[in-house]
């Protein structure tokens, strides 16, 4: 029964990683950059939801929508102000800028919200499911997180395969110049990608803090790094890869916490990443980089 409990907890944690990893992977696919500030957008989303619920006393679904709106705008603004001027710059300059944006967000949050952790009230009102005579407890948060992750995954897949904007995103991710020659506005497409990734980060932030209710300015950084790992693990640039990577990472982390050691669990997670990358450098579902003719 411990195995099942851990598996469910792992899948739930992994679903949060997967939702965050989708943001990393989509932005990487289109802008070919690692947006290290993505983790901190999660934190901003969680704070917005917290304020909406605790200070304004509004219901939780309003909080989620507020958080998504603020994060969407934040994502677009970050891209416009920090990354767009560097479109032609070396990837190292962009990477360092992203790290800078990450610290900026953390410190801005420190200034606004203070360093003391606040206790986040769960947005999930569904009671826990007790199975096998109470031996296996599945929390409402776990169920909602996993279901949200599945819905997001299906919606994103349909969006990129079927919608005009989604197809344009795939075209831009393959060849910006050629996409432009088709009449696709590359800047708008990149903004849209940041918007979607950041809205997902808001959802991830709310779900994460509902399950682990301690919120402070650095809350987003570790899950952000883990989700980045998950994206690389699954094959960065690949949407199903982010999903698989996130879920696997969550399960591995939870199992190593329970069966091996709480302290070592992060080390184990990253060791597995290193091994996967040694065996398959493009990640589990990563695409081979096609040669340009």
């Amino acid at each position: 029964m411990a195995f099942l409990t851990n598996l469910i907890n792992g899948l739930s944690l992994g679903s949060v990683y997967a939702i965050i990893a989708l943001g990393y992977t989509m932005v990487y696919g289109i802008a070919k950059m690692l947006n290290f500030a993505h983790g901190d957008v999660i934190m901003v989303g969680a704070y917005i939801a917290y304020i909406t619920m605790s200070s304004l006393g509004l219901p939780s679904f309003v909080a989620i929508i507020f958080a998504m709106i603020v994060c969407t705008v934040l994502g677009i603004v970050i891209e416009r102000l920090a990354y767009k001027p560097l479109r032609q710059a070396t990837s190292l300059a962009v990477l360092i800028t992203a790290i800078g944006v990450s610290y900026f967000l953390q410190n801005a949050a420190l200034l606004i919200f203070g360093s003391a952790p606040v206790s986040f009230r769960s947005v999930v009102k569904i009671p826990a499911l007790k199975l096998f005579g109470g031996e296996l407890i599945v929390t409402g948060e776990s169920m909602v997180t996993v279901i949200a992750c599945i819905i997001i995954m299906i919606a994103l897949t349909i969006f990129t395969k079927k919608s005009k904007m989604g197809k344009a995103m795939r075209a831009v991710s393959e060849d910006k110049g050629a996409a432009e020659l088709m009449g696709i506005n590359v800047n708008v497409t990149i903004s849209a990608t940041f918007a979607i990734g950041s809205a997902l980060a808001a959802i991830a932030g709310v779900l994460l803090c509902s399950a682990y209710p301690v919120l402070m300015p650095t809350t987003g950084s570790m899950p952000g790094i883990k989700a980045f790992t998950a994206a690389v693990f699954g094959g960065i640039g690949s949407i199903p890869g982010a999903m698989v990577g996130g879920l696997l990472l969550g399960v591995i982390e939870t199992f190593s916490k329970f069966y091996i050691s709480t302290e070592l669990s992060d080390a184990i997670v990253f060791a597995v990443l290193i091994i996967v990358l040694l065996v398959k450098p493009t990640g589990i579902l990563g695409k081979k980089i096609s040669e340009k003719v």
Partner: protein, 232 residues
């Protein structure tokens, strides 16, 4: 239709195009020939807005497009089939064609039917991933994709590159058909002989400068051209 007036383009410190001027009149096939690195592709990229000229101007249908964003030119009637085809290799043939109609997705069915009539092999492979096509099919897809925007001016960059002679002939036949159907064409080619044979007029680029211009027939007979580009 298209007027390029005295453009100068730099790649960093390299002066790639020097005082290039050229004109394409409605209904013409104009060829731009020259050796590797002469600036042919650079000229097309500058016209389609992917590169910027430091001087002069470019007008399309009497509208100044020197500073217009590349993505806006498609709806103004320009289509550019870039060097190396640049089709979306991970998307299907049909999706590639849909991208061609991105700015104007009215009558997509009719346009698709038209492209499939011209390139029947694309229809057989429409659900295939474009990366699995042969070189000739990829060139057809690149041209078909450009035609999906119903261009008034079609710019082709080395459509014969890397293709077997029989396919080159096919591609040139298609260019002639498109021209007969009323499309104005600016053709960049290394295969000078074939390009001059179908061109109304042609320009010869040499190290970033227009060295010669004239009708296709004149240039094909010119001794300088014969020596430099036609092998004797």
């Amino acid at each position: 239709m298209l007027k390029v007036d005295n453009i100068n383009v730099y790649y960093g410190k390299i002066h790639a195009l020097k005082d290039v001027s050229l004109e394409v009149k409605e209904g013409e096939i104009v060829a731009l020939i020259g050796a590797n690195g002469a600036g042919k592709s650079t000229t097309l990229k500058t016209i389609s807005g992917l590169l910027r000229s430091e001087t002069g101007g470019i007008t399309l249908l009497d509208e100044d497009i020197s500073h217009t964003d590349a993505y806006k030119l498609v709806s103004k009637g320009m289509a550019h089939v870039p060097e190396g085809r640049r089709i979306f290799l991970q998307m299907t043939v049909l999706e590639n064609l849909e991208m061609g109609a991105y700015t104007n997705d009215k009558d997509v069915k009719e346009k698709l039917a038209d492209v499939f009539k011209r390139f029947p092999r694309l229809e057989h492979r429409k659900n295939q991933i474009a990366g699995t096509l042969s070189g000739g099919e990829q060139q057809m897809l690149a041209m078909g994709r450009a035609l999906m925007s119903n261009p008034k001016l079609l710019m082709l960059d080395e459509p014969s590159m890397g293709l077997a002679p029989i396919l080159v002939q096919q591609i040139f036949d298609i260019i002639k058909e498109l021209h007969a159907a009323g499309t104005t064409i600016l053709l960049v080619e290394q295969n000078a002989e074939m390009a001059l044979a179908i061109a109304d007029r042609a320009y010869v680029l040499e190290s970033g400068r227009i060295a010669l211009s004239g009708t296709g027939k004149e240039l094909a007979k010119s001794d300088a051209i014969k020596k430099a580009y036609l092998g004797g």
